[in-house]
Structure formats: structure tokens, C-alpha cells
């Protein structure tokens, strides 16, 4: 510590001015008008980015914030994400408050009015989704619940069709000159989705849109069993992911988090319990003992966990009961095989069927086909 003569601080204003000059430098050329450049799309998580890329193709410049091995509930709101959002035309989010801990701070810090909540570029992909498990009452005594219902709707691949429509509408709105291209992309995506879900043969016979509507209405089984072709019910033509999952339909399993409700509903499997006693609450020793009892009595044949949760509890359950544990991705990129939305479900269906003893891996490659 020193004692000196008074010396006024000089050039404080100069320092301020230098920051201003730095900011004003033409680091980047002026933003061209839409139509002359690609549409900048930022997806909160890779599933939405994958669907957007099927629709927009080369017309969009895609950036994804989260990665497939991350828990979408707990992505950190890094300031660097604000930079990714600064020039975005569209922001695709899961919605239903899944990203409540990180999308608001990075959008509000991005200085981009186009992608703020309520602005035309803020695309909530849950629009139009039939949301499951909307809580009748809200209390955190029930754990880290989602007030608007279960946000993991993309575990049902058929909801990808609704999301594709939402994204296509958004792209058409921001880039009307390429509307036909986006519509073609959407149709191609939906066609491929139907074939991957129901099998190409059944789609050729009955039409993908018809099958999708029956599935969405919960009447697909009645339709397949009540319609005969050449004396055989249509169910005999069911292929794709649904066809593969027929062999394990109704089998009980346990998941780590309550994130497979939509998957279970679509494919007819039964989720009988969760490793988490309540959403977001790690399992206690008592809860694990209860699960061991249930598993030992054969109440569930499989435990499904996620790449981003601890494995100690599930390893313990497997060790005590011999029940198989598999780690399944929930997002594109959650495993190296899940390179896009279709490969994600190829992988998931394969793993579930194999783990539940539903037969060998399908012949002839992925149900979703090639691209």
C-alpha cells in the first residue's frame, strides 16, 4: 500500500469511447434480406434441429444449442448461446416449460426481438400436441413437475408430424418465397415418418395420413383388426417401428424419469414405475428397496435409463434383481447411432425389442429406410 499525491484518473472517457469504436467496427457485413440468404434457425435441442433440417434442407442455416447427451431440463444458460441467438430468424423450442431454466435468460440477453417469447420467430413446437399428464393441482411436493403437462412429447414419433407442420409453417412465414420447398420437405418428412412408423407396405395400402389419424385417435388397433385384405386383417401388413414393437406390446418396464409416457402410449408398453420417486428427486434407499421387491416379483422386465442421469441406482437395481438396464437416448445425438430423428427411433426400437426379448434385430436395415 502506498500513499501518493492526488493523481486524477485520466482518459476514462477515452476508454469508454474505445469500447464504442470496437463495437461499431464492421465485423460482419450488413445482414442481407431474407430470400438472399439462408434462414437462420436455432433449435433448443437436436430433435427439433433434425426435423427442421429435413424440411428446410439447404435453405436453412441450422444451429443447435443443446446436444443429444444433455438433459434438456438443465442446459446451462451460457452467454455464448446469446451470440448464437443474436442473428436468428427462428428459435425452435420444446415448450411446456421444459427449457424454463435456460431459454428465457439467453433469449432476453440475445438482443434479438425476433425470437423473444411471443414474437413471430419464437416457435413453440408443442403447439397442437395432445399433452399428457397435465397436473390437476400444482405443488412442488410432487417433485419438479411441469405445470403444463409432460413435455417429452417427441418420444412419440408421430408427434414429429405435428412438429414438422409447426416448423414448416414458421419457415413459410419467415421465408414465403421458399414456401413450396418447405412444403415439399414437410411432405417428404411425413411420408418417410409414416413408412418408418407403420411400414411401407401398410402405408401403400391404407395411406399414411389415414393411419396417422387412426393412431392419433387411438383407434389404430381397431382399424387394423377390423379391416381385412384378401382374408387377412390389415394388422398382418403392419411393419415399421410399430410392427417391430408388436412383439413386446404390453410388457412392463421401469424408466428412470417420467419421460416415456408418450412412447408408452404409442407403442403399447407399460411403464409401471420410475427410478425417481418423484420427478427430479433422486431415489432414496427406501425407494430402491421397493423397486427391488417389485422387480424381483417380475413386475417389470426392463429398466430404461438416460445418458445424462447417474447410473449407480440403476446398476444397483440390476445387480440385485438381474433385470436388464439399457441406456436410451431421448434426443438425436444421444448415442452415435442416433444421427437423425429416424435413426433415433430405429435405435430405440431396436434396443427395446432386443432387451424385452422381442426377437432378433429386424432384417433389411433400419425401419426408417435410407435417405
Amino acid at each position: 500500500m502506498t500513499t501518493e499525491r492526488r493523481r486524477p484518473i485520466r482518459n476514462f472517457g477515452l476508454a469508454l469511447a474505445s469500447f464504442g469504436v470496437l463495437w461499431a467496427l464492421p465485423w460482419r457485413p450488413a445482414t442481407p434480406l431474407a430470400g438472399e440468404r439462408r434462414i437462420r434457425v436455432v433449435a433448443s435441442m437436436p430433435n427439433f434441429g433434425s426435423i427442421a433440417s429435413f424440411i428446410g434442407g439447404d435453405r436453412i442455416e441450422l444451429t443447435t444449442i443443446g446436444v443429444g447427451t444433455q438433459d434438456a431440463h438443465f442446459v446451462d444458460p451460457k452467454p455464448s448461446y446469446m451470440v448464437k441467438l443474436r442473428n436468428a430468424d427462428l428459435l425452435l423450442v420444446n415448450g411446456l416449460d421444459l427449457e424454463i431454466g435456460w431459454i428465457p435468460p439467453i433469449t432476453q440477453g440475445a438482443r434479438n426481438a425476433k425470437i423473444l417469447l411471443g414474437a413471430p420467430g419464437y416457435i413453440d413446437c408443442s403447439t397442437g400436441i395432445q399433452v399428457l399428464e397435465v397436473p390437476a393441482s400444482l405443488s412442488r411436493a410432487a417433485g419438479d413437475i411441469h405445470p403444463y403437462g409432460n413435455p417429452h412429447y417427441l418420444t412419440d414419433p408421430l408427434n414429429g408430424e405435428i412438429v414438422a407442420q409447426t416448423i414448416a409453417d414458421a419457415l413459410k412465414s419467415v421465408d414465403p418465397a421458399s414456401a413450396a420447398l418447405y412444403e415439399e420437405g414437410r411432405k417428404a418428412f411425413v411420408r418417410r415418418l409414416h413408412e418408418a412408423l407403420f411400414g411401407k407396405e401398410l402405408v401403400d395400402l391404407a395411406g399414411g395420413a389415414k393411419l396417422a389419424r387412426e393412431a392419433a385417435a387411438g383407434t389404430l388397433d381397431a382399424f387394423l383388426d377390423g379391416t381385412s385384405i384378401g382374408g387377412a386383417p390389415l394388422r398382418s401388413r403392419l411393419g415399421g417401428w410399430l410392427g417391430r414393437m408388436q412383439t413386446v406390446k404390453g410388457k412392463p418396464l421401469i424408466t428412470y424419469h417420467k419421460d416415456y409416457s408418450y412412447f408408452a402410449e404409442r407403442f403399447g408398453i407399460r411403464v409401471v414405475d420410475y427410478v425417481e420417486p418423484k420427478p427430479g428427486i433422486p431415489p432414496s434407499a427406501k425407494h430402491l428397496e421397493e423397486l427391488i421387491q417389485r422387480l424381483s416379483q417380475g413386475e417389470a422386465h426392463l429398466i430404461i435409463t438416460r445418458p445424462y442421469v447417474e447410473h449407480r441406482s440403476t446398476d444397483y437395481l440390476a445387480e440385485k434383481t438381474g433385470v436388464k438396464v439399457i441406456t436410451l437416448p431421448i434426443d438425436v445425438g444421444g448415442t452415435p447411432e442416433a444421427t437423425d430423428f429416424f435413426r433415433l427411433f430405429d435405435y430405440v426400437v431396436d434396443q427395446v425389442v432386443a432387451a424385452l426379448g422381442g426377437g432378433p434385430a429386424r432384417p433389411g436395415g433400419p425401419a426408417s429406410g435410407g435417405r
Partner: protein
């Protein structure tokens, strides 16, 4: 569309016609017959009209007719099912064309009657949260009035967007001693051009990292000594304006400049007359060193007016008799350097993390000193340093352990210096509750000890329990 059996043949015929003409209009669903035989090429049709058909052509046509007959049968079966389903309420589906209907089934799967679920923005009430801080403190060396439990603070936060152009954040604090106050209350623009963001109101100044934190978000229970010595028991807080600029750069990295002007709330370095303005400039650079780790570096400079120093007041009291008139407005500047490294693995970021945060502060403060034995006041400038370094390791989802080293001089007193080491254990049952324990060992030289009843050292234990209810906005990264 409901079709009665009497119209089935007509409908089937229409559908049959569409098989050959609707592919372009209706690519989804495909109408390709199952296992089709090799169809005649389009060029074969005029050729067939010009010459008698060969046996092969006849066989081909027969196979095609067989396929089409089967297709008609399928369509009839499906129409029959649809008719029965349409007449049954249980089997009714949304009024939409079916695959076999003559209109294209290009209708989105999205239920037409399903409105989007309610969203936060549709709720007019702001997000409201309440946070409680129950503190317990004791000294292992000295008996002190500070021993005991204390409801140190209760905070109520109200946060919402104002309109498409601004958001509003209000944090009301209810300290155990003193009146309720606005800890922070700001309106922040959301739609300014050129990457600008303007904030107005009362806010914690962007001096480094720790100063911007609310008490419940501290890493340790108490704030580092350097911040206390340089700014006071509360954060450096301004009533004024703050302009933030996200500086464009060729590397697309987060480089942010914050310029503040306002009136600082009374504190150590800036406690002069209310009409004096305090200026601050903060430049932050944040980048990802790896996908799992980040580094943030910041530089800060702030300048304002300080009042009479505590050191002079103490010296006058010790002198007993003094008839001079001390000045009460002096230039005061504080500069800061902050560095934060975080490691949070993307895949397991809620289970494991590491944090290293360091800040160095430098104060240059004009003041008057009392010269003995003449008891005259002489102007001087005290240049002093301070800082802390904090390490934290999260070893389980709910558990973190941290350690901090403090070194601080006093900005208004020559040769006064103190050191401290602290260790903290933090337990978070959920993200809405935290319990933490801290032990802190402080050592001071003689000049600094004068500020602490002459006590050259101390060892303190702290306890804190912080619950939060309601919708509390996410803290900055």
C-alpha cells in the same frame, strides 16, 4: 365424410380412377398396389392400340386387372369400416377426409380443435417468488454480539415482461434489522437495435462477478473481505442507467460491454453526496474452452466520489481534540479483474462440476490524513489491493465443497491488511433449497485489527438455510 353402402360402387369407381391420376396431387399416401407386377410402360399403350395384343401383353393386363380387383375389394372393406365407424360415436374420428376418399387427405395431423396449451405469457401476473435466509453465526475465538441466529434477509421477487419491448425485475428485501427496501428494481429493454440493451432503475453494479450476486446466490455464506472493504456490507449498487452492448466480433464470441452511470448507494468507496455520479465500465469476454468448460474474463473500472474516510474519523476520535473541518468529497476509483473457469460436463452437468473464480481489485482513493502531532489534515491518495480466489467441487448431485482465500487491504487506510481462508459445504436437496456450513479463519495486521476491536484474528462458524418458493428466474451462468 360418411358414405352409405348404396354409394359404395360409385365411390370405389371414383377411387379407382384416382389411382392412376392422383399421384402428383397426393404423394402421401401412396396408392401403389401391393406387390405390383411389372406394369406396362406408358409408351406401350398407343402401341397396343395400333397392333393386336401379344400373349405377354394380355397376361400383363390380366395381372393388372387382378391387382385392381383386389384393390377395389380392399377399398370396399375400408369404406365399410369407415361407414360403421362414422355411425358409432366411440369410433368417430375428427371430420377429415380418409385415405380412400376422393379428396386429398393432406390434412395436418394436428387436431383442429386443439388450442395451444396456456403459456406463461398469457398469465398477466408476474412470476413471484420468495426466498428466506436463516443465518447462524458464532465466533470460536471471541464472544461477540454477532453470535446467534438471525433471519438475515427475506426476499420477494416479482419478474415479468412489461410489453414486447421491456422486462421488469423487482427484488424486495426484508432485512431482520432495518426497513424493507428495494434491493434491485430494473426495467430492461428487449428490442433495441444494434445489440444494445438498456437497463434503468436500481441494480447491483456489474463490477466483476460476485458483486452482481444476490446474497442467496453466494457461493459462501458471507462475501469476500475485499468486496466488504472496498464497497461495504452490501454490493456496490447504483440508481441509474446501464447500457450493455454485445460487441460483434469475427470469432462470434460473447464480448459484452456494460457502461453504467448513476448514484451509488452509500458504501465505502462511493459514499459521498447523493448528487455525485458514479461511472462504471465493464468489459467481459466469455468463451468455451472445450464443450465441457468455459472461461470468462472481465475488466472493470468505476469512478465516483467518496466521503470522509473511516480511517480519518477513527484518527480524529483517537486524537480527542480536533478543530479542523475535513473535506467530504474525494475522487475514488476502483478497478477490477475477474477470471472464472467452469467445468460442467454436458452429459452429467447436474452431478459434477468444478468452479474457479478469482477477482483482483485495486482502489485509488483520495482522502485526507491527520498528521500528528500538529493535528493538521494533509491530502493523500491511498492505493490498495484486494481480492479472493474461490474453488468449488461438486461431487454429487446435492453436494458441493468449496474453499476461498481472501487478501484485502483497506482502501482508506495505509498499511492495513487482512487475510482469510474459508471452507464451505453446500447441500441442495433440490434446486429450491440449500443448507450450507462454513468455517472462516481471519488474520489481520495491527492497523486492520483496529477496525475489529483490536482483534488480530478470528475463527467463525456460519450456518445458512435458504428455501425458495414460487417461480424464481434463472440465475446468470
Amino acid at each position: 365424410m360418411i358414405m352409405r353402402p348404396s354409394v359404395l360402387p360409385t365411390a370405389a369407381f371414383v377411387a379407382l380412377l384416382m389411382l392412376s391420376s392422383s399421384a402428383a396431387q397426393e404423394p402421401e399416401p401412396s396408392t401403389t398396389p401391393p406387390a405390383p407386377p411389372a406394369p406396362a410402360s406408358p409408351a406401350a399403350a398407343p402401341a397396343a392400340a395400333a397392333a393386336p395384343p401379344t400373349h405377354e401383353e394380355v397376361d400383363t393386363l390380366r395381372r393388372e386387372i387382378d391387382v385392381l380387383r383386389r384393390r377395389i375389394a380392399e377399398l370396399e372393406a375400408r369404406l365399410s369400416l369407415l361407414s360403421s365407424a362414422a355411425s358409432s360415436p366411440a369410433g368417430a374420428t375428427p371430420a377429415a377426409p380418409t385415405a380412400a376418399a376422393p379428396t386429398p387427405p393432406e390434412v395436418p395431423l394436428r387436431p383442429a380443435a386443439t388450442a395451444p396449451p396456456a403459456r406463461s405469457q398469457s398469465l398477466l401476473n408476474p412470476a413471484i417468488s420468495a426466498i428466506l435466509q436463516l443465518n447462524g453465526t458464532t465466533s470460536l475465538v471471541h464472544s461477540s454480539d454477532a453470535n446467534g441466529f438471525d433471519l438475515s434477509e427475506a426476499e420477494i421477487a416479482l419478474q415479468s415482461v412489461v410489453d414486447p419491448y421491456a422486462k421488469f425485475d423487482m427484488f424486495l428485501t426484508f432485512p431482520s434489522s432495518g426497513s424493507p427496501a428495494v434491493e434491485e428494481g430494473t426495467v430492461t429493454t428487449l428490442a433495441l437495435p444494434a445489440s444494445l440493451q438498456l437497463k434503468g432503475g436500481r441494480f447491483k453494479s456489474a463490477f466483476g462477478k460476485w458483486n452482481t450476486l444476490h446474497d442467496h446466490a453466494f457461493f459462501t455464506i458471507e462475501r469476500p473481505d475485499a468486496l466488504v472493504n472496498f464497497f461495504g456490507e452490501e454490493s456496490l449498487t447504483n440508481d441509474g442507467l446501464s447500457l450493455s452492448v454485445l460487441i460483434p466480433n469475427p470469432w462470434d464470441q460473447f464480448i459484452n460491454s456494460i457502461t453504467e452511470v448513476g448514484t451509488a448507494l452509500p458504501g465505502t468507496s462511493f459514499n459521498a453526496d447523493h448528487s455525485d455520479l458514479t461511472w462504471l465500465e465493464h468489459l467481459a469476454w466469455f468463451f468455451n474452452t472445450t464443450p465441457n468448460s468455459t472461461l470468462e474474463a472481465g475488466l472493470t473500472a468505476t469512478r465516483g466520489k467518496a466521503g470522509i474516510s473511516q480511517a480519518l474519523i477513527a484518527a480524529i476520535q483517537r486524537a480527542g481534540v480536533f478543530t479542523g473541518l475535513p473535506r467530504d468529497r474525494f475522487d475514488s476509483s476502483v478497478y477490477g479483474l475477474d477470471l472464472t473457469f467452469k467445468w460442467k460436463p454436458l452429459r452429467l452437468n447436474v452431478y459434477r462440476s468444478f468452479l474457479w473464480q478469482t477477482e483482483v481489485l485495486h482502489s485509488r482513493r483520495d482522502l485526507e490524513v491527520l498528521v500528528q502531532p500538529a493535528l493538521t489534515l494533509t491530502p493523500a491518495t491511498v492505493s490498495s489491493y484486494g481480492g479472493y480466489s474461490y474453488l468449488e467441487w461438486q461431487f454429487a448431485k446435492r453436494w458441493r465443497a468449496g474453499a476461498r482465500y481472501d487478501l484485502s487491504e483497506l482502501p482508506d487506510e495505509e498499511a492495513a491488511r487482512e487475510w482469510a481462508t474459508a471452507a464451505v459445504v453446500r447441500y441442495q436437496p433440490t434446486e429450491f433449497q440449500e443448507v450450507r456450513f462454513e468455517i472462516k479463519r481471519s488474520v489481520r495486521n495491527a492497523a486492520a485489527a483496529l477496525r475489529f476491536n483490536g482483534e488480530p484474528d478470528d475463527t467463525q462458524l456460519f450456518f445458512e438455510w435458504i428455501p425458495v418458493i414460487g417461480a424464481h428466474g434463472a440465475h446468470p451462468y
